[in-house]
């Protein structure tokens, strides 16, 4: 066994040039082949890469798709995002658990199957969904879950579970997935008809700084949610000192309720590569990295084929489009299930073969990013937009949308509506119009920008989607009047508690305290002063956390207090005697009463 393991590890390390920065690829390969990265495996890897065992272990223990303990040959990951729960994920989980005879979080005794929960896998438009190894199974019902569980028990391979493929490239031989694109509204930038590679061809006739000027004039801003002006970011990266520079595409959309990048990667991958090449041209980089979230591993072979096709026709590699000295290549870096890696500095850490810990900013990636070189990190949708901007021009683009938010925005709409899917709107669309298009009736609340965005109620439905009003990276989740706002807030806090990297105390501890308080309130043990407690704690967590996770994780609490105060007021009770309703003296004495064999005389 040990020799076999040695050989597997040696091969994995060699295929990555024994480069410790490629540790993610190495451990992912070993996890796939061996079902675990055991302590023994870690020792061998450390030796091969000339690093310490702890360097390897810190990576393996960080990512949820990697494990020290052996997982089943088949790993079933049930998505327990709020939308999936609304659509019945818990019933599906129960059926899997009962049919397979294992609890959630367990592996069958014969090592065949593991069952676990996982946060949003980017399939909210076809929830409830599960990942079985890399195979996505969508729109599950209790009956379907039962038959799948039985199939798996009888040794059917996960790959054979896909009976019917989805539309577009989901049916490609290298994808063969039942995932559907659900593109419902096509806008004028990303999903409009276009002449492929026209943007790149135009860019190389201009000087890099002229291209940047054009992008600045288009006023395009980052599509990941933060909205930093892309032209400015590229200008900084171009100006930064360094022989080697990198273009990184953030395809780690982990914000619950977002799935637009899934569709862009499936259908608009060439446009994305075109945008990245333009980025390379602008900042003077010959290397691009696409950080693909582990949940989208089912797309990897297809995307790699696409990359090699582009190389064959001279759209990647040396002297692109016949332009002497314009070299640019792209590699795919696969993630392993960590929400925090959507934060650009954590993403860079992960690409470097480290835990997905955010880095301290400044220095910003534009100065010191991947391997300490100047790096631009942009969203999938941003790169696609750039390709179109170059194809048309800055004035055409900046005429779309609003003054401060030009262009279109792709929204991933899911939850309580009849048409969940992908909508490309001009910036400035009204929430109420969006709800109408999505077929949402009886809407009580809309989560704009995922849990790190804001939860709004009816009075805000006349507001518009743009950076200056309701900003969003694309996640829109709709809740109808039957939903319990406090339960929703609780679920999202559980998500943040799980996904906090644990580096800084306000986020690691603060989110747990927020969750505890919301649970107490749900149990009817809250009092009016809890609102101030929550607000104070939220502000501490936001102000003192190191990265975007902790700076936004209190938002579900804050915006629900602001917009749904009546939900809190209905359950908060003033407590006249000053005793905490959460403290149960009888329960706290049970152990001692049993140990000492007597009852309390006071209580």
């Amino acid at each position: 066994m040990s020799q076999k393991l040695s050989r597997i590890i040696k091969n994995a390390c060699e295929s990555c040039g024994n480069d410790r920065n490629r540790l993610m690829d190495i451990v992912t390969a070993i996890q796939k082949e061996c079902g675990a990265v055991t302590l023994e495996a870690m020792d061998i890897i450390a030796k091969e890469l000339n690093v310490q065992r702890v360097d390897v272990e810190s990576v393996v223990s960080f990512y949820s798709f990697l494990s020290k303990e052996e997982k089943g040959k088949v790993v079933i990951r049930i998505c327990n995002d709020v939308v999936d729960i609304l659509k019945g994920a818990e019933d599906v989980a129960k059926v899997f658990s009962e049919t397979l005879g294992i609890e959630i979080g367990q592996t069958a005794a014969d090592g065949s199957i593991s069952l676990e929960y996982t946060p949003c896998i980017g399939l909210s438009d076809q929830a409830p969904a599960v990942l079985i190894n890399d195979v996505a199974i969508t729109n599950l019902t209790v009956d379907k879950a039962k038959s799948i569980a039985n199939d798996l028990k009888n040794g059917v391979l996960p790959e054979s579970l896909t009976k019917e493929c989805g539309d577009g490239n989901n049916a490609n031989d290298l994808v063969k997935s039942m995932v559907k694109n659900n593109i419902i509204k096509k806008g004028s930038v990303i999903f409009a008809e276009r002449q492929s590679e026209a943007g790149l061809e135009k860019a190389i006739t201009m000087s890099p700084s002229d291209v940047i000027s054009l992008i600045k004039a288009s006023k395009v801003r980052g599509r990941g949610g933060a909205g930093f002006p892309t032209g400015m970011k590229w200008e900084f990266t171009r100006a930064a000192k360094g022989d080697k520079k990198y273009v990184v595409c953030n395809a780690d959309e982990g914000e619950p309720g977002t799935f637009k990048d899934r569709v862009l990667l499936t259908e608009k991958f060439d446009m994305l590569c075109e945008g990245m090449a333009i980025g390379g041209y602008c900042i003077g980089s010959d290397s691009g990295i696409i950080y693909l979230r582990g949940e989208y591993a089912y797309l990897k072979a297809f995307l790699e084929k696409k990359l090699s096709q582009r190389k064959e026709v001279g759209l990647l590699g040396a002297n692109i489009c016949g332009k002497d000295g314009f070299n640019f290549d792209i590699r795919i870096q696969i993630g392993a299930g960590a929400y925090i890696c959507g934060e650009e500095t954590a993403l860079i850490s992960s690409c470097e073969g480290l835990r997905g810990d955010p880095k301290t900013r400044p220095p910003f990636p534009a100065q010191k990013g991947y391997l300490a070189s100047p790096t631009t990190v942009n969203n999938v949708e941003t790169f696609c937009s750039i390709a179109k901007i170059l194809e048309k021009d800055a004035a055409w683009y900046s005429a779309i949308g609003t003054k401060g938010s030009t262009g279109t925005k792709i929204l991933s709409i899911s939850g309580d509506c009849s048409n969940p899917g992908i909508y490309e709107y001009d910036f400035g669309v009204k929430v109420s119009d969006m709800l109408k298009d999505a077929g949402a009736e009886d809407t009580k609340a809309v989560l704009i920008g995922g849990p790190s965005g804001q939860l709004i109620g009816k009075t805000d439905f006349n507001r518009i989607i743009c950076y200056d009003d309701l900003a969003t990276g694309g996640s829109i989740v709709i809740f109808n009047s039957y939903r319990n706002i406090l339960e929703i807030v609780k679920s999202y806090l559980e998500f943040f508690v799980e996904e906090s990297c644990g580096y800084c105390t306000p986020c690691r501890t603060g989110n747990v305290l927020l969750l505890n308080k919301i649970e107490e309130i749900l149990e009817g043990k809250g009092e009016p002063s809890d609102i101030k407690y929550l607000e104070d704690l939220c502000s501490t967590v936001k102000v003192t956390s190191r990265c975007g996770l902790g700076q936004t994780s209190p938002n579900p609490v804050l915006t629900s207090i602001k917009n749904f105060r009546e939900v809190y007021d209905a359950v908060l009770k003033l407590n006249e005697d000053g005793r905490q309703p959460t403290f149960d003296i009888k329960a706290s004495l049970e152990v001692a009463e049993a140990l000492q064999g007597r009852k309390s005389v006071i209580y």
């Binding site: 407590n575 005697d577 000053g578 005793r579 403290f583 152990v591 001692a592 140990l595 000492q596």
Partner: protein, 181 residues
């Protein structure tokens, strides 16, 4: 005019906070011009004699008697102050919170390296208050109005806080008084 009353107690604490209170030195003469002490170890009054303006609580709650006393303080005092780290977050006594109670008893009365207990007795007189499953900070048991951190809070901190409270002025604690490293 009748002077406001102050009560103090030490629950699961080491009396260090009370020592710190005595550490205000001759200012204690000024303090008794400002207030009367009611139930407190300082004057050894065992029961409340009337309504108190301020209750100062040292230590968290490790047994049922602590809970009883704290609830009594909440009932009889207008303002309650968690004084010191044990009151605020359990402190040293709360180190047992991750260890099952049975193991704590065994270590304390039977297995500990310095235990001399030839008859293997676990103290269990009915006058002994029952131990809680874990040590609770005061504000988990009753509502506390203020928290004065420190182990112990220095005499100056206590003095400034009390004077501010009694004279109804905003508290001004200079950085040196609330810096602990």
């Amino acid at each position: 005019m009748e002077k406001p009353k102050v009560a103090t107690t030490s629950l699961a604490g080491c009396f260090g906070c009370h020592m710190s209170l005595l550490d205000i030195d001759d200012r204690i003469l000024k303090l008794i011009e400002l207030v009367d002490f009611d139930k407190s170890p300082i004057d050894d009054i065992k029961n409340f004699t009337g309504r108190c303006a301020v209750g100062i609580v040292e230590g968290g709650c490790c047994n049922e008697e602590n809970v009883h006393v704290l609830q009594d303080f909440r009932k009889n005092c207008d303002i309650l102050i968690s004084c010191g780290d044990c009151a605020i977050d359990g402190g040293i006594p709360a180190m047992r919170n991750n260890i099952p109670l049975k193991e704590c008893f065994d270590e304390a009365y039977h297995d500990g390296p310095t235990v001399y207990n030839p008859n293997n007795i676990t103290p269990n007189d009915k006058e002994l208050p029952l131990i809680l499953n874990k040590v609770y900070p005061c504000h988990h048991v009753v509502k506390m109005d203020y928290h004065l951190p420190g182990c112990p809070p220095s005499a100056d901190t206590l003095w400034e806080a009390l004077v501010a409270l009694l004279s109804n002025k905003p508290i001004e604690l200079p950085y040196e008084l609330i810096k602990y490293d």
